[in-house]
Every structure is written in C-alpha cells, then in structure tokens.
Amino acid sequence: MSEAIKTDVLIVGAGPCGLFAVFELGLLDVKVHLVDILDKIGGQCAELYPEKPIYDIPGIPMITGHGLTESLLEQIKPFNPTFHLNEMIETVEKIGDPGFRVTTDAGKVFECKVLVVAAGGGSFQPKRPPVPGIEAYEGGSVHYAVRKMEEFRDKDLMIVGGGDSALDWVLNLHPLAKRITLVHRRDDFRAAPHSVEQMRALVASGQMDLLIGQVTALEGEGNVLSAATVKGNDGTVTKVACNAMLPFFGLTMKLGPVANWGLHLENNLIPVDTGTFETNVPGIFAIGDINTYPGKLKLILSGFHEGALMAQKAVKYVYPDKRVVFQYTTSSSSLQKKLGVN
C-alpha cells in the first residue's frame, strides 16, 4: 500500500456540486482532493448530457453540461484542487475526532480531517446488457472493462455495442484475440468515423466478423462461456463460438460503496442537517443529489447552496481556533487575493 496522501478535505465525486464545494472551501483556505470513478470531471453533466442545455443555473440563461463543467473548473482554478480520476472510494475508517482514512480501489490511501460525499446518484458503473443469464458469466468470461489486454489473447472474443468503447477495443484487441465478432443492433455506429472505417476494413478483408443484431442467448459451463447466439434483424439466428465477451451498454449509477461507510441511509440517500449538511457522522458531510432532507430538490443550484453552508462548518474542523468572518467576494480584498484577482 502506498503512503497516505494528507489533505484537509477529501471530496467523493467530481460532479458539479463537488466542484463548487472546492470554491467555497477554497475561500476559507481549505485544501481539497477529489476522487471520481469516471475518467472525466463533471459527474452527470459530463457523462449523461454534455451537449444538452441547462436553463436553470442562476444568472446563466443557458449552458450545456460540458459548458458548466468547464466554467466550474475555471472558477475553482485559483484553489488548485487535485483530481484523482478513474478511482472509486471504497473504504472509510475513522481515525480522529474528526479524521478519516480513506482508500480507493486502486490502492491509494488518503488521510483527511473532513470527508464530503458529493456522490450524486452513486458511482457510475457499466450497464448490464439485456442478455438473459449473463449474470452467471460475470467474473468469468464476461467483462465490462479491459484491465489487462493479455486476458484476451487467443480468445474467441465477442464485443457488443456501437460506441467508441466497443470500436476502440475491437481495434486494440484484434491483434491479440483469436477471432473477434462485433455485434451491434444496427449497421450504424456512434463511434468516431475513423474507427468505424478501420473496423469495416478488417471485416472486408476477412480478419474479423460483424453481425448486425442482438445477443439472445449464451451457452457455457460455470462462469465460462462457449457460445453466444445472435439474432439478426432479418430473423436469422447465428451461433458463434465465444469464450470471452465485452459488452458496452453505457453506464448507470449505483449507490456502491457509500452504503458501507456507517452513514444513515433513507431510500439510498443520506439524511443531513440542513444548517450544515453534516451527516450522522461528525466530520462527514453530504451535498448534491446524494443527500436528502425535507423539501430536497435534486437540482444543481441546491447543491451549490449546500456546498456553501457545508464549508462554513467544515472549516471549523480544519482550523478549530480560527474565527471565520463573513465576507463578500465583491468587496473583500483578502478573498480577492485568494482568487488571484487582486
């Protein structure tokens, strides 16, 4: 295990609410690290609707999910937060009063005074594709991500999907696998046109197979696959030898490890005190979509407000002896110095 990274505050989740919390904490001189399981910053805004418009951010008549993420990053730049992407926070252990030791699935260890859970709808995890009985092969022949490419050497590999992940792995694993069959429900791909062209060239030269249709049945023993049945849109049924499968059906949000951190939960949400947004565990706060209280609205603007109030209480744990004075960014020269505008 690596040496612990020490930080005032650790934020679980780099969605819009986690990002704005960096700003509010930064004004109070609190240093922040953020961890997110996604490979990008922005939470739902980045993963689910980057190109779609949002109309209810106060003072901004219209902005896209991607645009909002970019603006927030610009706004928090003076505070220089550290991001740890592609990592899921797994365990939280109390080591101080308050103080926590937190570990990720990649083996990273943090020690923080305050933990802010801004986990939204939970961690993004791959969707299980609509194939009957597929659960049985998970952990065996069915994988939702490529950890080691070597695992696919000399395999009869079926890749399912039509987006960039599916096409990228077709192209990357094609030299290793014995044979690749790509299955997609229509002869039209969302993936980058360049990848689609390369894939079509491999099919044309007989180096891989492309089937248009849907996987309807799996065969195998234990968790090891031997064949998959694909039903074509024209009704034809093809059985393909297959001992490894990579389905790419997008991501869905599951609560995940947050459930194991000793926090009270109500319908998979964390109840909080609305004066401070602290949970039942002193020193652990919850803001944004993950929390609940009477009147809660799952809106970005609510999460921004929650972050501001959270910061006022969190700073007391980080600097117990410091008196916090209320100030405006418009007029406070000390705040403006922190923002690098004065």
Binding site: L48, Y49, K52, K127, P130, G161, G162, G163, H184, R185, R186, D188, R190, Q214, N233, F249, G250
Partner: protein, 106 residues
Amino acid sequence: MAKINFVDHSGETRTVEVEEGATVMEAAIRNAVPGIEAECGGACACATCHVYVDEAWRDKTGAPTPMEEDMLDFGFDVRPNSRLSCQIKVTEELDGLVVTVPERQA
C-alpha cells in the same frame, strides 16, 4: 386532449389522456403507467422510456432521430418499431395512439 393507449407485455391496455404538446413519456409518468421509468426525465439520455409503436401508427409517429437511435442502442429487445416515448410529441394526429411497453427497461 389526445388519448394514448399503453399495452403492457401481458396484453392489458391502459388508456390515458394528455394535452397536445406533451410527450408520450409524460402521459405515462403523470398517470403512473407501469413499465415506463424515464430516469432522465425526458432528456433522451437514459433509454428507460422505451416503447413499441403499434404498426398502424408507425407512419404517424415517424422514425427516431439519430440521437434517439444512439440511445436506443442501450435498450432491451429493441425492434424496428422501437421508440423512446419521451421523443414522441403528442399531436392531434396521434389521438388514439397505441404503444406497447416492453417487458423491462434497460
């Protein structure tokens, strides 16, 4: 107002009324029609409002846009008459529309 008929996978029909301009998904959610989840609230970002349009109505509802097709890739048992109900706007022409709710959403 237009009538929309939702047939569940066992064949039972529920008829609801909705004003023109709303979507078929909204008609389902407001009337708690089972089987339409609409997790993303109609942003064409979740594919959990998937329905099959009755053959007799396919011309009137039209074909999915490319964005909708991309999202349908994540649907369960997608067929040629599959649509995302949040992308079907109810018009006078669609009064009496019949759609079937799939056995499960993605």
